[in-house]
């Protein structure tokens, strides 16, 4: 249950269905906008009210360096979220144009034209080899009213997003979940290329060895394999087509991929005798930036509270 919850919230938040995917993109855009704004407000308040915070810190036995740490945190997260905030503003602008300017397909094509040049997107390694029952190559082209948004290509256990102007790893998570739903079998993602390409290449080399050995022996699949029928491929293709508008919007946002590690010090430093930890191979930007936003908003709330209602300090 916890694993499923972590997957839904942290690793693959938009993978369930097309509506979830679109919601995730909207949440991500809003998160970047809120994070950037909050960081700017926080930095300005700390700079303007610097004397107040230094006095508060020194009177309350809090390390004065904490103020500088907060300032650096706001500046760093502000810089990280700035491209996302700009992307969110552009998404909002194009949404307004679609609503009031009419001719939705033309507006979407305009939005598409505003994207940077195409290139190779993220890749990941599947838990099983995925192949078509008729032996045809597995390639899913994603296109909507805006035009062509790139293709997902599967070769053995490697799945890649090609010819794309965006580059979201969550698209791969969505693809895998849809394949699992359509076939009713587990497929799984075991390595994310953006996060650990060495480990991914090592794993994929073993998979290729298994496939080569199978061809050599002319045997049944040696590596765990999931075979997908042409009809199932068409269904997956249709499900990919449904997220094309969301993919177009997502292409305007940066894709920050991180691993996540949560530590709970039961007996904290300097003793540090017991600490609980849990790590996740991939944390979606919605989770990482969302968590950063919550932290920034919490600290900003304290900063604003102390600015407008300074706490009691010893005389």
């Amino acid at each position: 249950m916890v694993r499923g919850l972590l997957k839904r919230i942290i690793t693959e938040p938009g993978a369930e269905n097309a509506e979830d995917y679109a919601r995730r993109v909207r949440i991500l855009a809003l998160t970047y906008a809120v994070l950037f704004t909050a960081c700017c407000v926080g930095a300005v308040v700390i700079v303007v009210e610097g004397k107040l915070f230094v006095t508060l810190a020194q009177r309350s036995n809090v390390e004065t360096l904490t103020i500088l740490f907060l300032l650096v945190l706001y500046c760093y997260l502000g810089a990280v979220s700035a491209p996302g905030a700009l992307g969110a503003a552009r998404i909002a602008l194009f949404a307004l144009r679609r609503r009031f300017g009419g001719d939705v397909p033309a507006q979407r094509r305009r939005q598409m034209a505003s994207l940077p040049g195409r290139g190779e997107g993220p890749w990941a390694a599947l838990g099983k080899v995925l192949e078509r029952t008729d032996g045809a190559p597995l390639r899913f082209e994603i296109a909507g009213e805006a035009g062509y948004l790139g293709a997902l290509e599967v070769e053995g256990a490697r799945v890649r997003h090609l010819e794309t102007a965006s580059g979201s790893a969550d698209l791969i998570a969505y693809f895998v979940r849809q394949v699992e739903e359509v076939t009713g079998l587990d497929l799984g993602l075991v390595v994310w290329g953006q996060l650990d390409d060495d480990e991914g290449e090592r794993y994929l080399a073993q998979v290729e060895f298994g496939r080569a050995l199978r061809r050599h022996l002319g045997s049944e699949p040696l590596w765990p394999t999931l075979a997908i029928t042409p009809a199932q491929c068409d269904e997956v293709q249709e499900r990919l087509r449904r997220i094309a508008p969301a993919l177009l919007e997502e292409a305007m946002l940066p894709d920050w991929e991180y691993e996540a590690e949560h530590k709970l010090p039961v007996i904290p430093e300097p003793l540090g005798l017991v600490s609980l930890g849990r790590s996740t191979k991939r944390a979606d930007p919605v989770a990482t930036m969302g968590f950063a936003t919550v932290m920034v908003l919490l600290t900003l709330a304290v900063v604003l509270l102390f600015t407008f209602r300074p706490p009691w300090v010893p005389g």
Partner: protein, 107 residues
């Protein structure tokens, strides 16, 4: 799970309100200021529900020009209290233009 999160959020909010109620400092606001001979006087009101020590800075500028006389003094305000704070400015004539600055926390 949802109930747990809701209870946790309510507890955090209650702790926040309790902190603001119990641990706020004063919010001194200047009511009036005047020179009375060599004595500079400021009436200060606490507009907050907290209490604490604050700094009153007096600056008397001679109307004919020249250096300002200045002095500061710490004072304490209780919740919603109004207080008169006075200092003696040696050498003042009484017709200076008085400026008063209030600082909390006292720096």
């Amino acid at each position: 799970m949802k109930r747990l999160l809701l209870v946790a959020a309510l507890l955090v909010a209650a702790a926040g309100v309790a902190f603001v109620r119990g641990c706020s400092g004063p919010r001194p606001a200047l009511v009036s200021a005047r020179m009375r001979g060599q004595i500079a006087e400021a009436v200060v009101r606490n507009e907050g529900s907290g209490e604490g020590e604050f700094l009153v800075g007096f600056r008397a500028r001679p109307r004919s020009g020249g250096p300002a006389l200045q002095k500061s003094r710490k004072a304490t305000l209780r919740p919603q209290e109004t207080a008169r704070v006075e200092v003696t400015l040696e050498g003042a004539r009484g017709d200076e233009q008085l400026e008063v600055e209030l600082d909390y926390p006292a720096r």
